[in-house]
């Protein structure tokens, strides 16, 4: 009898001793800037990874990141976004805003040329803008920016005047698109194969080969008017499967990839990874949120929405789901956006206060422990796009905390296209999703009451007259700091109204091959600003090939 106890005690001790050591503290999250570290060398091939096949290389028909990444290397935008997220010269080297934000005069660089040597002219700019505004051309990413276009005039060979009917001084972001060459054929169909599969380059690289669903190969554009890129060739490999992409990274067949949280953890303890690659993490402009339909009888009052916000245990999620590599978001703009007011505090996780707010809003305990108000049970479906594991984990935890407060929440995954349709039509009570970062801080398309479904992207049907007024006023402010001051006030108003629970921002995690020099990460990531990947070089440090 005694010996059995001894064995059991020994087993317990052994199991306790085998308990895994706590994971090492996460590395600091921050931006990289190695653009001035080391001496750039010319030559070599850069291997990039694409998660999906670009549908088209027509600059105005692009819809996804896959297209944007390739286009960023073969073409320059009219106006670029710089590392500080502000408009920077691109094909246009200077511009003027006049008439209260109704007239934009753009000056095309003298040196700008296409890959065949012909100059980039005002005619190309005017042609591109007219095609974007053409309702028969599905330029879905850009057409809404030119909805109130009155006319495009070619003042001379290198100057374009664009006239709008609405005064809006912050339209420079609207010109962040690449150009189509006008002179490729009088009556060509812009949605056809010529521009989609055989783009004419005006950027650091030009298209050399496109093997559909396999790879896209670019070579240096010798006629490029700007600073020569260091790599001779860039090869984009289409690798949809993330595990295969990780293996390709280790084998040196791709030089960069975005990592999920789980892959990050795996990479940190992988000796083979450490030999060839390095990790970096930073916060971009996207963040996760739980949106409440402000028109639903459940969520139409501020007190209920604030209570629901205070029942999301964000600190625990940051600690347990993201291993500390996430941070709170307090309002419509994430902390790194200049429009975010850093003095606005986040709503705390406070179930007791939430229960008091709900009671004060008229919710009374009903049958089955579920709150009832005006004969209606506090029960709803929380929709999210299937396939997102972080959405699933977050909504499961949230549903549990809501249930403890008497709210019956049912997380429901829905296939992505169907989910988007529900969002756009406003046919939901609550959704869990993410807002992707946009360097243009203009809140009008997402938050103005006129943009509620089915007219615009204000899916939550948020409506506040003071906020509407501030949004319209900010659009007319030419001065950047005055506009940001208005945005700060909006940040506080929207935080107080709590139309959504502005949840948390998970750090973006990237792996880069050790041989890449000149890396830079910004709040828009490593690629979506100028110069992005065009400034990288081959350090020549060895890695397995």
């Amino acid at each position: 009898m005694r010996r059995r106890w001894v064995w059991m005690a020994a087993a317990v001790v052994a199991v306790a001793a085998c308990r895994r050591a706590p994971p090492p503290a996460p590395p600091p999250v921050g931006f990289l800037d190695e653009s001035r570290i080391g001496v750039p060398r010319d030559g070599g091939t850069l291997y990039r990874r694409l998660e999906g096949e670009p549908a088209t290389l027509n600059p105005i028909l692009q819809t996804s990141d896959y297209e944007a990444f390739v286009l960023a290397e073969i073409s320059r935008n009219l106006i670029e976004i710089g590392p500080d997220m502000k408009p920077a010269p691109g094909v246009c080297d200077r511009w003027e805003v006049a008439d209260g934000g109704r007239t934009y005069t753009l000056h095309v660089r003298d040196a700008a040329v296409w890959e065949d040597g012909t100059p980039v002219t005002a005619n190309d700019v005017a042609f591109t803008i007219r095609e974007i505004a053409n309702p028969a051309v599905p330029a879905v990413l850009f057409s809404s920016n030119f909805a109130d276009l009155k006319g495009v005039d070619e003042v001379d060979a290198k100057t374009v005047r664009v006239r709008f009917s609405e005064p809006q001084s912050d339209r420079l972001f609207a010109f962040n698109f690449p150009l189509l060459p006008a002179s490729r054929g009088e009556k060509r169909d812009v949605t056809g194969n010529l521009d989609s599969r055989h783009p004419l380059a005006d950027g650091p690289y030009r298209l050399a080969a496109w093997r559909p669903s396999q790879s896209i190969e670019l070579v240096r554009n010798d006629r490029y008017w700007g600073r020569r890129p260091h790599f001779d060739r860039v090869v984009f490999r289409v690798l949809p499967d993330p595990t295969q992409a990780y293996r390709a990274l280790l084998a040196g067949q791709v030089d960069e990839m975005r990592l999920s949280t789980e892959q990050w953890r795996q990479a940190r303890s992988d000796a083979a990874f450490r030999r060839c690659c390095r990790l970096t993490a930073f916060y971009d402009l996207s963040y996760f949120y739980i949106g409440f339909n402000n028109r639903s009888p459940l969520f139409s009052d501020v007190a209920t929405r604030r209570a629901a916000t205070m029942l999301l245990d964000r600190p625990a999620m940051i600690r347990d789901l993201f291993y500390g590599m996430a941070r709170l978001v307090t309002g419509p703009w994430p902390p790194d956006s200049p429009a975010c007011d850093p003095s606005v505090p986040a709503w705390p996780f406070d179930p007791a206060r939430a229960r008091r707010l709900l009671a004060g809003a008229g919710w009374k305990p009903g049958p089955g422990g579920v709150l009832v108000r005006g004969g209606r049970r506090f029960e709803f479906d929380l929709l999210y796009g299937a396939g997102s594991s972080s959405s699933r984990e977050i909504t499961e935890i949230y549903a549990r905390d809501l249930a403890a407060a008497g709210i019956a929440c049912h997380p429901r995954p829905i296939e992505w296209a169907a989910f988007e349709q529900r969002m756009d039509s406003g046919a939901f009570d609550a959704v869990a999703s993410a807002w992707s970062g946009d360097p243009n801080p203009d809140p009008y398309p997402l938050w103005h009451s006129s943009q509620a479904p089915p007219h615009g992207l204000n899916n939550l049907s948020y409506s506040d007259p003071e906020a509407d007024r501030l949004m319209k006023e900010a659009r007319r402010k030419g001065d950047f700091s005055k506009r940001m001051a208005l945005y700060h006030r909006l940040h506080r108003i929207i935080h107080d109204d709590a139309p959504a629970c502005f949840g948390l921002q998970a750090a973006e995690k990237f792996a880069f091959s050790r041989r890449i020099g000149g890396l830079m990460t910004t709040p828009v990531g490593p690629f979506k600003f100028w110069p992005g990947a065009a400034a990288w070089w081959d350090r020549g440090a060895s890695g397995p090939r």
Binding site: G52, E53, A55, T56, L61, T63, S64, D65, Y66, A68, P135, A136, P138, A139, V140, L141, S143, S144, A147, T191, G192, N193, S196, R197, R211, P212, S213, Q214, R237, V238, L239, P240, D241, T243, Q244, R247, A248, L250, A251, Q253, S286, G385, E415, W416, A417, A418, F419, E420, Q421, R422, D424, A434, S436, D438, P445, P453, P454, H455, G456, L457
Partner: protein
């Protein structure tokens, strides 16, 4: 007894009847897929918002729907599509505006090649394996073979694929990780390119084949066992045929008859089984095309591919039935 002329006429009548049934079947399949796909929530405009995270404003989405004719009533859309399809014009993809026929023709060689070799391997390895098992039925080797084939048949292909890649590509480095060809292979001599293609196809082929191989081998074993107990096999042995000849030349021929239909059914099964394998190995075939088109609600590509697969399936079944009728005289006289 029906004479030879009457037999030929019977076969022709048989084929004509089957083709006459196949046409409305095809229309029914395509109409059903059209209806189901349009009834599913979401459309090309809402699917656009999903990739890359940038939201498409509703006005732009409406304009898109109008450009694609999606705001017309469903029967009108189907009639327009069907009348073009009857002239073999399957329209243009919503995603990249290329002709649907061109996109299918681009992906077809990769899927057809892989699946043709998979089918060949299934037959070339499955038949001898099944026969060997049947000849040694009841022995320890046969029982071990049964267990092994059952295990093979039960393991999911994506798991096996991951395991195979980890062992043969990542650890041992014997085979490539993904893709169809190595970098720069376009400039190599033909023999080196063929060897490179074979190395790239080895793992996807293995993952595609093992499941149908296990299934087919077990069916061959069962069929041969059933036939081996019949009187004509004993008669052949009595006439002096060896055990091997009795099985291979007599029992197997009758055992293979019902398997002709199985092979006919394997064709569409192999074509559709490729989606996961093609994603994992980045193999640019029809499976990936189909999957991407469904997610993007690319109606022309989905309908074009459905028509293509339906025609292929109906043709394969018809060919199997014809072969069966040719091989089994009992059927011809009915």
């Amino acid at each position: 007894m029906v004479g030879p002329g009457g037999e030929r006429a019977a076969v022709i009548r048989f084929v004509a009847r089957r083709v006459a049934i196949a046409a409305p079947t095809l229309v029914g399949i395509v109409a059903a897929v059209f209806l189901l796909f349009h009834l599913a929530p979401g459309d090309p405009a809402s699917a656009l918002s999903t990739f890359g995270g940038r939201r498409v404003p509703p006005e732009a989405a409406e304009a898109l729907r109008h450009t694609y004719g999606l705001d017309r009533p469903l029967p009108a859309q189907f009639v327009i599509w069907a009348s073009r399809a009857a002239r073999l014009d399957f329209g243009r993809s919503f995603q990249d505006h290329r002709r649907v026929a061109a996109r299918i023709a681009e992906a077809l060689p990769y899927t057809a090649g892989l699946n043709a070799v998979a089918l060949l391997l299934t037959l070339l390895v499955g038949i001898p394996l099944g026969v060997a098992q049947a000849r040694h039925a009841g022995t320890a080797g046969d029982r071990a073979g049964n267990l092994g084939l059952l295990l093979l048949y039960s393991t999911p292909s994506f798991w096996v694929a991951m395991l195979a890649v980890t062992v043969f590509s990542a650890r041992l480095g014997w085979l490539p990780l993904f893709g169809v060809a190595s970098d720069g292979a376009a400039h190599w001599p033909l023999t080196r390119r063929l060897w490179d293609l074979a190395c790239h196809a080895a793992l996807p082929l293995a993952c595609l084949t093992y499941g149908s191989l296990a299934y087919f081998a077990r069916m061959v074993r069962a069929g041969v066992l059933a036939e081996s107990g019949r009187l004509y096999v004993a008669a052949a042995r009595a006439r002096g045929a060896s055990a091997a000849r009795a099985v291979w030349a007599h029992a197997l021929r009758n055992a293979l008859l019902p398997l002709i239909t199985v092979v006919g059914l394997l064709v569409p099964a192999l074509l559709s089984g490729s989606v996961i394998i093609e994603q994992i190995f980045a193999w640019p075939g029809l499976g990936r095309l189909f999957y991407g088109a469904i997610l993007a609600r690319d109606y022309p590509v989905v309908l074009g591919l459905t028509t293509f697969t339906a025609v292929l399936t109906l043709a394969a079944l018809l060919a199997a039935d014809l072969l069966y009728a040719v091989a089994d005289p009992r059927l011809r006289h009915e």
